[in-house]
Symmetry: C2
Subunit: 427 residues, 2 copies
C-alpha cells in the first residue's frame, strides 16, 4: 500500500493539468475557494475539521516512480505532464478558518492560491478530508451539547472504513468527546482511549460471575462491567457481589435505556454501590442522548450515528476556482451558482458577545466592534506556517472550537431541523 | 503514519485478551460469526464486499515495537498481554460467503474460528471493512440495476474520507460500475479510471472555445467536454464547432437533467454530432438514475450518494461469539438476540433458478435440488487459501456478484423500501 497521497485524486485533475500545460494556462495565478452552498440536513451550524490532517498530507503529495508508473498504466502518458508531476511540490499559499471554527453557507473555509496546475491538483484531497471530518465534527458537536456536561465516548470504528475511523475519532475529540475506543487515534493524536469488555467476554466464561472476577482481577475494581448479557438485574447484583461497592461503573448496551438506567441506579444504591457510575451505549444519537437527560446516566458511548454524521455523512463543501490572474470568475448556468473573487470573512457579534452574522466580502470588511476575523494563514510558499505536531494541532482545534461555540446564539442548539443559526451577509 | 493494521482496533479487545490470558480462558476454542440482524433502510438485499481487503490486511495485523509502545503510552502495560501480542500472528480459520455474494438477515457472511484471544482481536477490523464496503456495494448494485445497461462511473472520492474513497471505488466496481475517477483505485485494483475536466478548466480560460480547444489538443476529439459552465445551448454549439461532429461526449452537471438531456440530444443531432454521447453527473442516486431511463443519456457519474451508501452508510454487520469449546452461546437479555452455534448456509432456488430462500442451520442442511452452498474457505491455519492478487480478488468478486444477482427474484430490484427479497429460514 502506498503511503503517498498524490493518487488520492480524481483523474480529471491530471487531464486538466496536461491540457493547461500544453496551452500555457497552467501558470495562471489562481484562487480556489472551499465553501458549502447550504448546511446539510437542516443543521443550524457546521464545524470545520480536517485542516490539521490536510497539513499532515501535504508533504506526502508527491509523484514518485510508483505514482508515475501507475499513471502510465492508466494511459496518462503525456510526457510534459509526467515531467511536471515528477517535479511537483506545492508552492502556493493556503489560508482558511482555524480548525474547529464554525461555518455557515458561503463561509470561505479554505482558500488555495497557486498557479492553476498546482491548485487544481489538490481539489480531491482537500475535499475528501474536509468533507468527511467536518461531517463527523458537526454531528459530534450536537451530541456533546445534548449530553450537557456528561462525558461522551466515541466507539464507532466498526461502523465505518478502518482509516475513516481514526479520522472520525479525531473529529469527535475536536468537538468535545472525552475519549475514543480507537487505539490508532490514541497513538496518532493522543486522544484518551477507553473500553473494557464486550458480551463475548461474558459468554466465553462458564458464568457471569467468573467473567466479572476475571475482568476485575486484571483491570481493577474501578473497571466498567457490562451487565446485560443475561439478566440485567442479576447482572448488577453479581457485579456488586464480585466487585464490592467500589465498582467503577456498569454498562448497559440494550433495552429501554431511560427505564433501565433508573432501575439500575436504584438497585446499585440499594446494594451500597452509590458511587458506581452508569454508562449507556446502545444505538445512541443526539436525540437519544437528549432523551436520557433526566435519567441517572453518567456517560454515553456513541458509535454508528457519530461516524456516519447522524444523517449527514458529508457536508457538501465544494472547491471552486474563484479568481485567475486577478479576474473574478464563476459558473453562470442554471443551478450551482458561485460568487467570484477572493473573499475575506468576519464573524459579527452583539454587545453580549453572541454571534449575529457571518460577513463575507470580496473586499475588506469595514471593522465593527465585536467583529472577529476568521481567516488565518495555514501555508505560505508551500510550507505550513505552524510546525505543531498532529497532537498539538488537534489540541489547538479543540480549544478553538470550544471558544467559537460559546458565542453561538441559544437557538443554534435546537436539535430540530431549521435554518442556519446566523445569517451569511455578502458585502 | 503506521502501515500496520493492528491498532485499527477498539481498546476493549485488548483488555479482554489481558483478562482472558490471566484466567486461562484465552485459549478456549471459539467461533465468532458476522451477520446482520436486519437489512438497512428497507433494502431488499445487501451485497457482501470487503473480504478481499480483509485478506490484504491480515498479514499486516502485527504488534511491532511501534504498536507496543503506543499501547504502553495508553496505559496498557500488562506484561503478559504485551508479550502475547508481540508474538501474535493469527493462526485460526476463516470461512464465509464469497465476496460479491448477496446476503440477507441472519446470513452468516463470515465465521472466524480461533482461540478466543485471537478471534476477539479481529472484531473491529473485520467489521470496519465489511460494514463499509458492503454498504457501498449494496447501494452500487441498485444504481447499476437502475441504469440498465448504461455505464455508471464512480466519482465520489471528494465526498468521503480519502482512503474510504479508494475502498468505495473498489466496492462500486465489484457491483458493476464501469469506471472510477479515483487514481489510487486504478493503481491498487486495476479499475479503469475516467474523467476529463471540471468547470474550473473552462473558467481558467478567456472563453469556452479556448478551453475546449486546449482540451481537444491534448485529450483528442473523443474526449468529454463539460458544456454547462455558461449557457448549455451555446456550450454544445461551441463544442461541436471546435471538435467537429466526431466529438466523443458532452457532460451535463447541473439543471433539470431529463429536459436538458433531451434538448442536448436534439441539438447534437441537428449539428451532425449524432454519435456524440451524453453523460450526466449532477447529484445522482438510484432514483434519479431510474428517472432518466427514458432520457437520451449514455452514461451516469455518481458521487455523493454512492460513497455514503445512498441513505445507508453502514450495513449493521455484527461480530458475535457463537460457540466456545463446542458449546453454543448467545446473549439472552432483552433486545439484540443472537442464535448460538456455528452455522452452515445454502441458497435455495426454484426449478427456474430463481432464489427462494436463505437456509441457515446449526447442523448440516439436507440437500435439495437447486441448493447452492454459500460458505467457502478463506483462511486456514492463519494463511489465506488463495494467493490471488488484490486485482484478481476484485475480478473474482465482480464475477461472483454478477452470477449471484442474476438469480434474484424480480421484486428484489424494486427501489422502494420493502422486505428482504427472500426469506431466511433457520433450520
Amino acid at each position: 500500500m502506498s503511503t503517498g497521497s498524490a493518487l488520492l485524486t480524481d483523474r480529471y485533475e491530471l487531464t486538466m493539468v496536461a491540457a493547461a500545460l500544453a496551452d500555457g494556462t497552467a501558470d495562471r495565478e489562481s484562487s480556489f475557494e472551499v465553501f458549502a452552498r447550504r448546511l446539510p440536513h437542516g443543521r443550524r451550524f457546521a464545524v470545520l475539521a480536517g485542516t490539521g490532517r490536510l497539513l499532515e498530507h501535504l508533504p506526502r503529495f508527491r509523484f514518485g516512480d510508483e505514482e508515475l508508473d501507475a499513471l502510465r498504466e492508466q494511459g496518462l502518458t503525456d510526457a510534459r505532464l509526467l515531467d511536471w508531476l515528477a517535479d511537483f511540490a506545492f508552492s502556493g499559499d493556503i489560508e482558511g478558518y482555524a480548525e474547529g471554527e464554525l461555518f455557515f453557507p458561503g463561509s470561505p473555509v479554505l482558500t488555495v492560491r497557486a498557479p492553476f496546475a498546482e491548485g487544481v491538483l489538490l481539489e480531491t484531497l482537500v475535499l475528501s478530508i474536509l468533507n468527511h471530518d467536518s461531517a463527523i465534527a458537526s454531528a459530534a458537536a450536537r451530541m456533546v451539547a445534548a449530553a450537557c456536561e456528561r462525558p461522551v465516548i466515541e466507539m464507532g470504528s466498526r461502523r465505518t472504513h478502518e482509516q475513516a475511523a481514526v479520522a472520525a475519532a479525531r473529529a469527535a475529540a475536536l468537538a468535545g468527546f472525552a475519549a475514543t475506543s480507537n487505539l490508532e487515534a490514541g497513538r496518532r493524536y493522543g486522544i484518551p482511549t477507553a473500553g473494557t469488555s464486550a458480551h463475548a467476554f461474558t459468554l466465553l466464561h462458564d458464568d457471569e460471575a467468573s467473567a466479572f472476577r476475571a475482568q476485575i482481577a486484571t483491570l481493577g475494581v474501578d473497571t466498567t462491567l457490562l451487565v446485560d448479557t443475561y439478566d440485567v438485574d442479576q447482572g448488577i447484583r453479581t457485579a456488586v457481589e464480585v466487585a464490592g461497592p467500589e465498582l467503577g461503573a456498569i454498562r448497559l448496551d440494550s433495552g429501554d435505556l431511560p427505564t433501565l438506567a433508573t432501575h439500575a441506579r436504584q438497585l446499585l444504591d440499594e446494594l451500597g454501590a452509590t458511587k458506581t457510575r452508569i454508562l449507556v451505549t446502545s444505538d445512541l444519537d443526539e436525540y437519544a442522548i437528549a432523551g436520557l437527560m433526566a435519567a441517572p446516566v453518567d456517560g454515553y458511548g456513541v458509535g454508528t450515528s457519530l461516524v456516519t454524521g447522524s444523517g449527514a455523512p458529508t457536508v457538501g463543501l465544494v472547491y471552486k476556482l474563484v479568481e485567475r490572474d486577478g479576474v473574478p470568475v464563476a459558473k453562470r448556468s442554471e443551478g450551482k451558482h458561485s460568487v467570484g473573487g477572493r473573499k475575506t470573512a468576519v464573524r459579527r457579534h452583539d454587545a453580549s458577545g453572541t454571534a449575529t452574522a457571518e460577513v463575507v466580502s470580496s473586499g475588506p470588511v469595514p471593522a465593527q466592534d465585536g467583529d472577529r476575523p476568521l481567516l488565518v494563514d495555514l501555508v505560505r510558499g508551500g510550507q505550513p506556517v505552524s510546525d505543531a505536531s498532529p497532537r498539538e494541532l488537534l489540541a489547538a482545534a479543540r480549544a478553538h472550537h470550544e471558544r467559537a461555540r460559546a458565542a453561538l446564539p441559544a437557538e443554534a442548539w435546537a436539535l430540530s431541523r431549521g435554518e442556519s443559526a446566523i445569517e451569511t451577509m455578502t458585502e
